[in-house]
Amino acid sequence: MHTLPYTTEIRPDTGLTNPKLGIWLFLASEVMLFGSLFSAYALLRSGAASWPDQSAVLSVPLATLNTVILISSSVTMVLAWSGARAGRMDRFRIYMGLTLLCGAGFLAVKAVEYGDKFAHGLLPSTDNFLALYFTMTGVHAVHVLAGMVVNAFLLGPGARMWRSEPERFTNRVEVAGIYWHFVDVVWIFLFPVLYLL
């Protein structure tokens, strides 16, 4: 496979590398995916005869914790990239490890939340609020998991590229980071919409 132009070096007239443009295009489609789900929420809630008191059904403290966890993971992610860019693989490893830990923590809290709901017989079939809650946070959680898989790859076998092509590796971390921050942004909207409003 020949090396394609602008995989690592920037194309002058666009100022971009291919992966950089690619990930932003992917995120544009993700905006439409989550946007569709938020639109469904808006329609179903505005058309509902009655709507449960969301903060009474769900745990605001756990969700606040998860918000802090995810925001922290965004900081550690960008610091991991910063470390890689500065040539500090030790910093990269620590911060990427913390990012993974935060991701795992987020999913663990979500598991606790879901388990608690199921234990009380609160299911997607109970009412549309719960259906939306499970679906929207479920789709989000799948995205968190996917991000964690990529991050784990970059921390593990993917890190070998650090030795052969450090710049390309750093760009990969940046692109993974952009995806990860997006997942954080989605949660930033899910949190108030599902828990607080």
Binding site: L16, M32, T64, G177, F189, V193, L197
Partner: protein
């Protein structure tokens, strides 16, 4: 951006998170809570996008698809509600 800068943004995000939880606990009328919650969320998202995602220094070729997605999301959201408004008993 320096590590210090990132941590500064982190601090702002934590503060805004606290603000949003506080605002919700104030038991304001629901439309105000909604407006406040979404405004704060937008502010947080903007900080993450501009600084963590480096959107502040990105190129036009990235802005255009994102702007298009934003416009189309707004259109999808608004027209669904507008079209179904006649069937919906708002606040019912």
């Amino acid at each position: 951006m320096t590590a210090r800068g990132y941590l500064g943004v982190f601090g702002a995000l934590l503060a805004l998170t606290a603000a949003t939880v506080l605002a919700a606990s104030l038991q304001l009328p629901s439309s105000s809570t909604m407006a406040l919650g979404l405004t704060i969320a937008t502010a947080k998202a903007t900080l993450v996008a501009l600084f963590f995602m480096h959107l502040k220094s990105e190129k036009p070729m990235v802005y255009w698809p994102l702007a298009l997605a934003a416009v189309l999301f707004a259109a999808l959201f608004a027209f669904i509600l507008w079209t179904e408004a006649d069937h919906i008993a708002i606040g019912g």
